[in-house]
């Protein structure tokens, strides 16, 4: 049987995810409300004064983005599985790699959308402007890194008994190098220190992204057999 070209298949899956989201608003709605609640809770829990805010804001940003992304990843893959769509995708004459890249891009877009909501809200609430070109670059790279790992692992965990509970446990440690370098890079960018002091973290982040994308792309076919 003739298989659909890779990019056409990827685009079709991304379009499907976006369309389902436009109609149902299941993911971004839940993720967005969770993210807003999280930053409110952080500001109460940490009782931040003016100086402390500058220090911790990138940490708060990343923790919020990651937890809402885990929420979204779980929902995204659980929906595929519960409605039998994952099986349909696997039956379709498209490569497994295309399924992975399609789901990855979908999750990436949703998490970036949450970040786009968070940036102005946090800038306003915490009084620190997050619209720094390097912070944006770090967000693009960091979110790519952990949605890459997360899409693969969520595909695994939705097939287990513990389901939603297992994803954060298996994902956080593996994604930690990405989170660590992303937090360091954005803290550096916001601190006003010279670029040379922290640009290394952005480079490490880029290298980690490349490694994880390649690894997860080749490992994905093994988690969707049957």
């Amino acid at each position: 049987m003739k298989t659909t070209p890779f990019f056409k298949a990827v685009l079709a899956i991304v379009r499907k995810d976006l369309q389902a989201e436009m109609r149902g608003r299941e993911l971004v709605g839940a993720m967005g409300v969770f993210a807003l609640l999280a930053i409110l809770i952080f500001s109460f829990a940490l009782e931040l004064d003016r100086e402390a805010r500058n220090e911790v804001i990138s940490g708060v940003l990343w923790v919020t983005v990651i937890f809402s992304s885990i929420l979204g990843l779980n929902r995204s893959l659980a929906m595929e599985r519960d409605q039998g769509n994952l099986d349909a995708l696997l039956l379709a004459p498209i490569g497994r790699g295309a399924v992975y890249v399609g789901k990855l891009i979908g999750n990436y877009i949703f998490t970036l959308a949450i970040s786009a909501i968070l940036l102005p809200v946090m800038s306003a609430l915490y009084g620190v402007s997050l619209f720094n070109p390097y912070v944006l670059l770090t967000l693009l790279l960091g979110v790519l890194g952990f949605t890459t790992v997360g899409t693969l692992l969520a595909t695994m965990t939705v097939q287990t008994r513990a389901r939603e509970a297992l994803l954060p446990i298996v994902m956080m440690p593996v994604a930690l190098p990405i989170i660590l370098s992303a937090v360091r890079a954005s803290t550096g960018a916001l601190s006003g220190a010279s670029v040379d002091d922290w640009i290394g973290w952005v480079q490490i982040l880029g290298a980690l992204d490349a490694i994880f994308v390649v690894m997860c792309f080749f490992l994905f076919p093994f988690v969707v057999e049957e």
């Binding site: 008994r161 297992l166 440690p173 930690l176 997860c216 093994f222 988690v223």
Partner: protein, 258 residues
């Protein structure tokens, strides 16, 4: 159906032959002797550290046990890749054994490090980058075991465990490399070039191979024993245990069928 699966599992898990058993027992005795010689070299033969005193001798267990954990976790990667390619159950047994043995050795590494840090850094634990990444590494492999126990279907379990075992190795590499890329760590670098400020080292506990006579030989011998003999002998025992468990399951199914 289940009987057929169990039967094929029993087929693919041969009874351990006598040659193998004898070799394993021989190697086990060799390992015990090797560890004892290593302890002698470290605890008695090597000179006492001038700055740190007797507590510095923990290095002779601390460093070798991480080497052993590194080897065991590497075995998990090899087992995982080989299982995904060949789908032979023995490779998954190797991967699982690697995780369990690696966890045990990593625990020894963590505890000895903590005991050393108490007098030298004046705290059992701090959030130094290396300590943090080591804790993350241990949690990753604990998550590996949780992932395994969360899947009922044995084939799915082995497949997912192989994938996760390969990914999890990134945390081992990070732990190994982090003291080389993070300048703010206070953890001493034993193997490889030292990038940290030398004046800082003197106050925070350093490790020098040529500090007193016998240090190099104790570390080298200990690392050789703990990275070659200790993990492989333990992994072998663990695989045999897994084989026995498989045979018991197969027999149980057979009995229930009758």
């Amino acid at each position: 159906m289940s009987a057929a699966v169990a039967h094929s599992a029993a087929e693919s898990m041969p009874r351990s032959n006598r040659m193998g058993s004898r070799l394993l027992i021989f190697l086990s005795i060799l390992t015990v002797i090797g560890v004892l010689i290593g302890l002698y070299l470290g605890l008695i033969a090597a000179g006492t550290d001038i700055e740190q005193g007797e507590v510095q001798r923990l290095f002779y267990i601390h460093v070798p046990s991480f080497a052993g954990a590194f080897v065991a976790f590497s075995a998990t990667v090899v087992g995982g890749i080989a299982y995904l390619i060949t789908r032979k159950v023995k490779w998954d047994a190797l991967a699982l054994a690697g995780v369990e043995i690696g966890l045990a050795l990593a625990a020894i590494n963590l505890v000895t490090g903590s005991v050393w840090a108490r007098p030298i850094w004046n705290t059992w634990w701090n959030w130094d980058p290396r300590l943090t990444s080591d804790a993350i590494m241990i949690l990753t492999y604990a998550a590996y075991l949780m992932l395994r126990s969360g899947i009922d279907n044995v084939d799915t379990r082995r497949r997912f465990a192989s994938v996760y075992g390969i990914l999890a190795f990134s945390t081992v590499l990070i732990t190994f490399l982090i003291i080389r890329i993070r300048p703010d760590t206070i953890h001493p670098v034993v193997i490889g070039p030292v990038l940290t400020d030398a004046s800082m080292m003197a106050t925070q506990g350093d490790f020098e191979l040529n500090a007193t006579p016998g240090v190099t030989s104790a570390v080298a011998f200990g690392s050789a024993v703990w990275s070659i003999l200790v993990p492989w002998v333990l992994v072998w025992w663990r695989i045999r245990l897994e084989n026995v468990a498989h045979r018991v399951t197969a027999m149980r199914v057979k009995v229930m069928e009758q």
